[in-house]
Amino acid sequence: MTAPVRTSSSGEPVLQVQDLHVSYGSTAALHGISLEVHAGETVALIGANGAGKSTTLRAISGLLKARSGSILWNGQPIANRPPEEIVAAGIAHCPEERHVWPGMTVEENIALGAYLCRSKDEVRTRMGMAFHRFPRLRERAKQMAGTLSGGEQQMLAIARALMSEPRLLMLDEPSLGLSPRMADEVFEVVRAINAHGVTVLLVEQNIHNALSVASRAYVVQTGRITTARPSAELRGDPELLKAYLGG
């Protein structure tokens, strides 16, 4: 299987994170994260449990405030802006743990993913696309999202995130709870939208899958970036990987 590997510096850096510090209350979670994502790239963040991957994504999408450091999106500072504005600027975040709206139907969940899109026709087209990507969801269109199986909810969360047609898509463990086959399909989708020019920032525990779609990967360890390598290099060196992921 061949992943479309790009060179690390193709395109402009659309997202630049510099020396980002984030804490939950009084406990610090990130101690200075710096990373860059270039236009059209797929970049993975990997690391052990509790390293701070999700925290990084949350800070970028505005769910968490940065204590210090900067986040630039197309050169504009976006740190500490509310999430609504960041979505509007073209960054979508599919959070871990799914967070579907349990008391709304699958259909409503998907439609609301395009909340900022005011054209009804456009929303309808995008919904068609979502159902096309995840036929299972079409079968369950009228079911309450809270009663879906874990994997179905995961599909829904991804489908919903795609509805805003972002320019940067951040996925937090998209394959979590998906069957191997479904996970493959999701990564196919990621490749496909990436091929359409959408930049992707990916947190993924399934290292094999992650490295197969991403061109580069950052390794996060206890709130810091410890290394940044092309995927191929990491894939070729299981011992190195083990050292980074062990904790």
Partner: protein
């Protein structure tokens, strides 16, 4: 039979009024899940402000209604932004305590400002009985019912037909996901609270023009409204209507055929019975699984 028809009519009228007074609470308690003990006080403020602007500022009933909507809506907005906002996401208890405090404050500050006497709100039309066969009802009641039903439908349409409505439901079910979808959750909370307060105040003024406005009515209104919302099921507008009518008719029949001295008991007994049989209320569905 005639007697029964009249009881039924009385019950339906009062039922619509109950639904109407519970309307704001359906939003705030039913959807937002803020156990709002100040609900009755917003209703009361509607009546008192309505009395003030019609009696002291000389406005007619309908302009008064608009002023009340604006004033209490703005006040509700501020209450959410400056008070409720601060305890959001900390479970229901801080909200309970906060609204209990607010309700104590509002009642007593109103007592200080306008005194405890009942106040007469200008009527929209001249009152008089209408006879429909054996059933008597009055013009003002009919009008209030029409306005009430219109408000109920309008509120229902807002929740189920507009973007704001979807935004509300999304925000209350999962605020984090909502903000990631681009919904300004802070505004949605405030808007919902303000809308809830406005609806309470409107019904307060409407009903004060039929009964009378008084600083101390809030407690009873809150109590009955909670009953109605729970009977119908949290956050359901059809439920609120059904709950209101059910309560109104049950009270009328109990009062009519048993005794009027204890009518309030019937609502509570209904709540207990219905929840024993259907723990989610009449009209709400559960979307949770292990």
């Amino acid at each position: 039979m005639d007697l029964f028809l009249q009881f039924l009519a009385n019950g339906l009228v009062v039922g619509v009024f109950y639904a109407l007074s519970a309307l704001g609470l359906t939003l705030i308690f039913g959807l937002m899940r803020v156990v709002n003990f100040a609900h009755g006080e917003f209703y009361m403020l509607g009546g008192v402000v309505g009395w003030f602007v019609t009696t002291h500022l000389g406005l007619d009933f309908f302009s008064g209604l608009v002023v009340v909507a604006l004033v209490i809506g703005g006040f509700g907005w501020a209450v959410d932004r400056f008070l409720i906002e601060r305890v959001r996401g900390q479970g229901e208890e801080p909200g309970i305590l906060l609204t209990i405090g607010l309700s104590i404050f509002l009642v007593n500050i109103t007592l200080l400002a306008v005194g405890p006497a009942p106040m007469k709100v200008v009527r929209a039309i001249t009152e008089g009985p209408i006879f429909l066969g054996p059933v008597t009802i009055t013009k003002m009641r009919l009008l209030a019912m029409v306005i009430g039903v219109a408000l109920i439908f309008a509120a229902h349409a807002i929740i189920h037909r507009t973007r704001l409505g979807s935004a509300m439901r999304a925000t209350f079910q999962d605020p984090m996901a909502a903000s990631l979808a681009g919904i300004r959750t802070g505004q949605v909370y405030a808007a919902t609270f303000a809308l809830g307060c406005t609806l309470s105040a409107l019904s307060g003024m409407l009903l004060a023009s039929i009964y009378s406005a008084q600083a101390s009515v809030g407690g009873l209104v809150s109590l009955k409204s909670f009953v109605v919302v729970i009977l119908g099921g949290m956050g359901s507008f059809p439920g609120a209507i059904a709950g209101g009518l059910l309560l109104g008719v049950a009270e009328a029949l109990w009062g009519g055929y048993v005794a009027t001295g204890m009518v309030d008991i019937i609502g509570f007994i209904l709540v207990i019975l219905i929840l024993v049989l259907r723990p989610q209320g009449l009209f709400s569905i559960r979307a949770e699984r292990a």
